[in-house]
C-alpha cells in the first residue's frame, strides 16, 4: 500500500517454472494429487494419482537399504 514499493523476483520466470509445469487443470475437487471418480453407489470419492507423503516407501534409508530408484512399493496413497 505504498506506491514506491518494488516487487522483484530473482528466481522465478519462464525457465524456472516451466521446468515443473506439466499441464494445468483447475478442475480438481479433491485437491492436487487426487482425482474424483464415481464409486459403486455413484457417489464421488477421491482416488490417489500421487503417492503422497511417504508414497515412495522405497526411500527408507539405512541398514543397507539406502539409495534411490528401488521401486516396487508405494503409490498407494
Amino acid at each position: 500500500m505504498k506506491r514506491s514499493r518494488r516487487v522483484v523476483l530473482t528466481m522465478m520466470g519462464t525457465a524456472a517454472v516451466g521446468a515443473v509445469s506439466m499441464g494445468f487443470s483447475r478442475t480438481r475437487p479433491c485437491g492436487p494429487g487426487l482425482e474424483a471418480v464415481p464409486g459403486p453407489d455413484d457417489t464421488l470419492y477421491c482416488r490417489a494419482i500421487h503417492g503422497g507423503f511417504g508414497g515412495a516407501m522405497h526411500r527408507v534409508h539405512g541398514h543397507g537399504h539406502g539409495g534411490h530408484g528401488h521401486g516396487g512399493h508405494g503409490h498407494g496413497g
Binding site: 515443473v20 509445469s21 506439466m22 494429487g33 500421487h50 507423503f53 511417504g54 534409508h61
Partner: protein
C-alpha cells in the same frame, strides 16, 4: 466498493508468462481477468477489511489456545487423537506461521463476514502479491487507472521479512505436488521470497521425501536432513498418509506448523461462533448434528469439515438447494453456516481474499464467480484503491 469495467493490457498474456504465471487461462477460460477491477476507498480497506482481518485472526488464535486444552473440541474437529501431542507441542514451541487467507463476504456495506479460513495451504498468492501489482503499475502507466490509484498489497515484502525471522541462513525445503501447475508456481514463488531473505532453498515433491532409518528423520533426494520444511500439502492428508506415523519422531519444523490443522478445519466456524457469539465479523454457524443448527431456519450454507475449492458445499435457501457443488468430501461431517448473500455486481459474485503474513493483514485478492459458491472455475480480478 465498485466493479469498474476497463480495457485490458494488450500484452498481459506475454507479461504473465514471462514471470511464470502460465495458468492465466485454463481450458480456454480466463482465470486472470482484467476486463474489470474492483475499486475500494481507503476507509473500506483499512477499517472494513484490514481491521476486521486482524480481529478475526486474534479470535482464531484464541480458539487454537482453547482447543489444545479441550479434547472435546479436538474431537469435534475430527483431528486424529495420535496427532494431538504434535499439535500441542508445535503451539507450545511457538512454531511460526508464514501465511494464510481469510475468505470474506463484503460488498462495501456492513461489516465483512468470515466465510472460511484457508489457514494451511492457501494458493493464488503469486497472483495476489506479484501479478496484481504489475497490473496496477502498468495500468497507471497506460492511463487505464488514474495516477493516484493504489493497491492494498504488501504481501511480497512481508513474506521476505517473515522468512528472515524464520530462518535467515538456514536450509529450507519446499514440498508439494510439483506436477500441479498452481502448486508449482506457489512453491517457486515462496522459494524466491525465501531466497531473497537469505535462506538456501530446495523444492521437492512431497512423494520424494524419504526417511532415514538409522537415527530417524526426513531426508531429501540427496539424503540431506530436512530440518525446516514448507509444505503445500494439507495436514489432514499428512496425518493419513504413509509417513504420518513418523511425524512425531521427526525433528523437522514444518511451515505451516501442525497447530494450523485446527484453523484449516471448517469446524472452527461453529467454534468461533460459540466463543464469540454475535461478533459482527462472524456468521452464526453450528455443527450439523447440533440441535442449535435448526435456529438457522431453512436457509443456510452446508460445508464439509474438510473441503477444497468449494467442493461439496451447498447453498440452501428456503429449504431448497439453490446451488450445490459436487465432490467427494463430507465423510467427517458437515457444518451449517448462516447464509451471507455475496454482493451481486450485475450477475457476478466476488469473494474477498484477505491475506495475512505472520498474522498481520497485508493484502487483498478477489475471486469472482457467476454463482454464489466460489469454486475452482472462478476468475481472479485485480483491485485498486481510488
Amino acid at each position: 466498493m465498485q466493479r469498474i469495467a476497463c480495457p485490458e493490457r494488450d500484452d498481459w498474456q506475454a507479461t504473465a508468462e514471462q514471470c511464470g504465471f502460465d495458468f492465466h487461462t485454463v481450458d480456454g477460460e480466463r482465470y486472470w481477468d482484467e476486463r474489470a477491477y474492483y475499486a475500494f476507498t481507503l476507509q473500506e480497506i483499512e477499517v472494513d477489511i484490514e481491521d476486521a482481518t486482524a480481529e478475526i485472526e486474534a479470535m482464531c488464535l484464541d480458539l487454537v489456545e482453547c482447543a489444545l486444552d479441550d479434547e472435546a473440541m479436538l474431537r469435534r474437529l475430527k483431528i486424529p487423537e495420535p496427532f494431538w501431542p504434535l499439535l500441542g507441542e508445535s503451539w507450545e514451541r511457538d512454531d511460526r506461521s508464514l501465511y494464510g487467507r481469510l475468505d470474506l463476504s463484503f460488498g462495501g456495506q456492513g461489516p465483512a463476514k468470515l466465510l472460511e479460513y484457508n489457514a494451511d495451504t492457501p494458493t493464488s498468492i503469486f497472483e495476489a502479491a506479484v501479478f496484481q501489482w504489475t497490473w496496477l503499475e502498468q495500468a497507471i502507466e497506460r492511463g487505464i487507472l488514474p495516477p493516484r490509484a493504489d493497491q492494498y498489497n504488501s504481501i511480497h515484502e512481508r513474506l521476505i521479512e517473515r522468512w528472515t525471522e524464520i530462518g535467515c541462513g538456514r536450509q529450507l525445503h519446499l514440498a508439494g505436488i510439483t506436477g500441479d501447475d498452481e502448486d508449482a508456481v506457489t512453491l517457486a514463488y515462496l522459494a524466491d521470497t525465501a531466497a531473497q531473505a537469505g535462506l538456501a532453498t530446495t523444492v521437492i515433491d512431497i512423494e520424494d521425501i524419504g526417511w532415514r532409518e538409522d537415527g530417524g528423520g526426513f531426508v531429501d533426494l540427496d539424503d540431506q536432513d530436512m530440518a525446516l520444511v514448507f509444505k503445500l500439502y494439507p495436514w489432514e492428508w499428512m496425518f493419513h498418509d504413509v509417513f504420518g506415523a513418523r511425524l512425531a519422531e521427526a525433528r523437522t519444523r514444518w511451515i505451516e506448523p501442525p497447530w494450523k490443522a485446527i484453523l484449516s478445519n471448517k469446524g472452527i466456524l461453529p467454534l468461533l461462533w460459540e466463543m464469540f457469539e454475535g461478533h459482527p465479523n462472524l456468521l452464526p454457524a453450528f455443527f450439523e448434528d447440533d440441535p442449535k443448527a435448526a435456529t438457522l431456519g431453512p436457509s443456510f450454507v452446508r460445508k464439509p469439515l474438510f473441503s477444497r475449492e468449494g467442493a461439496n458445499v451447498s447453498l440452501v435457501s428456503g429449504g431448497i438447494a439453490v446451488a450445490a457443488e459436487g465432490g467427494p468430501y463430507g465423510v467427517e461431517g458437515f457444518i451449517r453456516q448462516a447464509l451471507a448473500s455475496l454482493p451481486d455486481f450485475g450477475g457476478v459474485y466476488p469473494v474477498i481474499g484477505s491475506w495475512l503474513v505472520a498474522h498481520q493483514p497485508c493484502g487483498l485478492s478477489i475471486r469472482e464467480d457467476a454463482t454464489p459458491i466460489t469454486g475452482n472455475t472462478s476468475r481472479f480480478l485485480p483491485h485498486a484503491i481510488l
